[in-house]
C-alpha cells in the first residue's frame, strides 16, 4: 500500500511540473506585460520600471519561474492586483461558501443519479426507458444559463419562494436559505447527464455472467440490481464523481455569480474580468493539484469497494 502511494505521488511530479510550466508560459509570454495594466492610464517609464522590478519581470525567465515555484510551495502569491487582498486569504475565505453549495449538490446528484439509473435499468428497453432518455437529451440541450435565469426569475423573483440572491454570516442560514435554490437548479441541470452516464455503467454490468448466475439461483430482480449490480457499477461511478469534484468547484461559477455567493468560481470570473493574474494563477495550479489528488483517492477507494482490485 505505502509503496504504491509513494510511487503514485512520484508519478504526479512531471504532470505537476507541466502544469506549472504551462501556467507560467501562458501568463508570462502569451499574456503580455502586466506592468502596463497595473500602472494605469497615466503611466510613465519610471513607474513601469518600478512595477517590473517588483514583479520580478526584469529578471531572466528561469528566475521568474523559480519565483513562481516558490509562490506555489509557500502558498504566498502576494496580493491580488485589483483589491490588494492576499491571494491565500481569498482562496481560504471563498472555499467555505463554494463547499456549502457543492457538497450537498454532489451528494444529492450522486444518490439521485444512482437510484434513477438502477430504476431505469430495471425496465431497460421499455417505452419508459426510451422516454426518460429522450427527456434527458432534451433537458441537457437547454443551456444552464436558461435554467438559472428562468428559475431565479420564476421561483425567487415572481413567487418569492427563495431569496433572489445574497449570502449571510451563519452556516445554517446560508445552507437552508441562500443555497437552496442554487442547489435545486444545479440538480436540475446535472441530473440528466449523470443519469445517462450512470445508466450506461449499469447496463454494462447487467449483461455479465454473474447476473445470470444470480438470476439462476433464484434471487429477486430487485436484489440483483441493488446489491450485485450496484457494487460492480460503483467503480466507474466513483471515478466519475471523484474526478469531477475539483472541476465542480469552478463549474458552479454561474450559480455563484447569479446568486451572489462569494465562492471560488465567482472569484475566478471576477479575476478574469479584472485581469487579476495572481488569483487566476493560484486557483489554476491548486485546482490542478486537487484534481490529481482526487484521482488518486478514487483509485484508493476502488479497493474498499472491490476487494479484487490489487493496488501495486
Amino acid at each position: 500500500m505505502l509503496p504504491y502511494l509513494l510511487r503514485r505521488l512520484w508519478q504526479m511530479l512531471p504532470t505537476m511540473a507541466g502544469v506549472v510550466v504551462l501556467v507560467f508560459v501562458l501568463f508570462n509570454w502569451v499574456g503580455g506585460d502586466p506592468s502596463y495594466l497595473l500602472a494605469g492610464k497615466m503611466a510613465d517609464a519610471r513607474a513601469i520600471a518600478n512595477i517590473r522590478a517588483q514583479l520580478g519581470l526584469d529578471q531572466p525567465w528561469f528566475v521568474q519561474l523559480a519565483i513562481f515555484a516558490r509562490q506555489i510551495l509557500t502558498f504566498d502569491f502576494g496580493n491580488a492586483w485589483s483589491t490588494g487582498e492576499p491571494v491565500a486569504h481569498i482562496i481560504a475565505s471563498r472555499l467555505g461558501p463554494s463547499l456549502t453549495v457543492l457538497v450537498p449538490l454532489t451528494v444529492l446528484e450522486t444518490v439521485l443519479g444512482i437510484a434513477l439509473a438502477l430504476a431505469i435499468a430495471f425496465v431497460r428497453g421499455s417505452l419508459t426507458d426510451r422516454l426518460v432518455m429522450v427527456a434527458c437529451t432534451a433537458g441537457m440541450s437547454v443551456s444552464i444559463l436558461v435554467y438559472i435565469i428562468v428559475f431565479q426569475y420564476g421561483l425567487a423573483y415572481k413567487l418569492g419562494l427563495f431569496p433572489v440572491q445574497g449570502w449571510g454570516e451563519r452556516f445554517s442560514e446560508n445552507l437552508l436559505r441562500y443555497a437552496t435554490l442554487p442547489i435545486l437548479i444545479g440538480l436540475a441541470v446535472s441530473v440528466a447527464p449523470t443519469l445517462r452516464l450512470f445508466r450506461s455503467f449499469v447496463l454494462d454490468e447487467v449483461a455479465q455472467d454473474y447476473v445470470r448466475t444470480a438470476r439462476a439461483k433464484g434471487l429477486s430482480e430487485r436484489r440483483i440490481v441493488w446489491v450485485h449490480v450496484l457494487r460492480n457499477a460503483a467503480i466507474p461511478i466513483i471515478t466519475y464523481v471523484m474526478a469531477n469534484l475539483p472541476a465542480l468547484l469552478i463549474g458552479a461559477f454561474l450559480l455563484e455569480r447569479f446568486f451572489g455567493i462569494p465562492g471560488i468560481g465567482r472569484e475566478v470570473i471576477l479575476a478574469v474580468e479584472r485581469s487579476d493574474f495572481p488569483v487566476i494563477k493560484a486557483v489554476t495550479v491548486y485546482v490542478a493539484m486537487a484534481t490529481m489528488v482526487f484521482n488518486l483517492l478514487a483509485d484508493l477507494l476502488y479497493q474498499a469497494v472491490d476487494p479484487r482490485v490489487q493496488l501495486k
Binding site: T137, V142, S143
Partner: protein, 342 residues
Amino acid sequence: MNYAAASGLAPATSPGLWTLAWRRLRADRVAMASLAVVGLFLLSVLLSAAGLVAADWEREVAVNYAPPGFIGPDPALAALARPQPPAPPNAFDPLQPDIEALQAELRRGAAAPVARAATLPFGADKWGHDVLKKTVKGGQTSIVVGLVAALVAVGLGTLFGALSGFYGGLVDDLFNWFYNVFTAIPSILMILTVAAVLQTKGVLNIVLILGLTGWTGPYRLIRAEYIKHKAREYVMAADAIGASDWRKMFVHIFPNVSHVALVQVSILVVGFIKAEVILSFLGFGVPVGVVSWGSMLNEAQNELILGKWWQLAAAAGAMALLVTAFSLFADALRDALDPKLK
C-alpha cells in the same frame, strides 16, 4: 478465370463502411428527423453568411419591445408606432430661431420618419430589432464558432493521436505527458484562464480558446485506434511498397479511423456551442456589435424582469432545438458507424 464472369453474376462488391452506415442511418427515423433539423439550421447559417437572410437585423423596424404578433400590440407602446410629430416651439428659449433653422436643415437631409411596426412575429428587443432576424444572425455566430472550434480540436487531437499511437515510445510519452497536464486542469478553468490571458475579444479568439483546449478527448480515442491499426496487414503492405510514415498515417490508416473523428466532431460541436453561449454571456466571448445566442441571453436576462420574455424564448428555444437535434444525430451516427456498440 473470373468467377463472377463465369457464373454470369455482376461482380460482387461488398458495400463499404460509409454505405452501410448510411443505410443504417436511413432506417433510423429519429436520426433522419434530427438530421433534417440540423440541415435547416446549417442552411440558415449559409444564407445569413451570404447576406441573403437577416442581413438587416440591425435596422430598428419596430417599436421598442414590440411584442410577438400573437399577443397583439402593447397599448402603452402604440403611440411610439406613429411617426413622432416635431416638438412644439418654445417661445421662451432665446435659441429657438437657431434650433428651428437647424432642425429644418436636418429634416432636408434625412429621410422622412418611417412608421415602426407595433408587433413582429417574434417580437422586438430594446431597440426595436426584429428578434427573429437576430436569432438567425446570432445562430450564425454560435454555430460557426462551434463547428470551426470542433474541427480545430479534432484536427489537433487526430494529429497528436496519430503521431503518438503510430510512433509510440518517446513521442507517445511526450504527448501523454501533454495530455496529463491538460486534463489535470478542468476544462472550464482552462478556458477561463486562456480567456484571461488573451484579453482581446473576437470570434477568432473563442475558436482558438475552445479548439486549443478541447483536443484531449479526440486524442485519447484516435491514439487507441492508431495503436490498433499500425500492426494490421494493410499497413505492413504499405510499408513493403515503401510508403513514407506520413503517407501510412494519413493516407492508409486515417480513412479507417475517420469515423471516430467524425463522431468526435459531432459530439464536440454540441459542447462548444454551449460553451460559446456561456463565454459570450459572461462578456469573454464575441465583441460588442456581434450578436450571438450568448449575447442575446445576456440582454434577455434584464428584459425578463420587465416582463419581456420573447428574446429569451427565441434564443433559448433555437439553441435547445439545435442542440437536441445535434445530440440525437451524434448518438445515431455513433451507433450507425459502430454497430457492435449496441
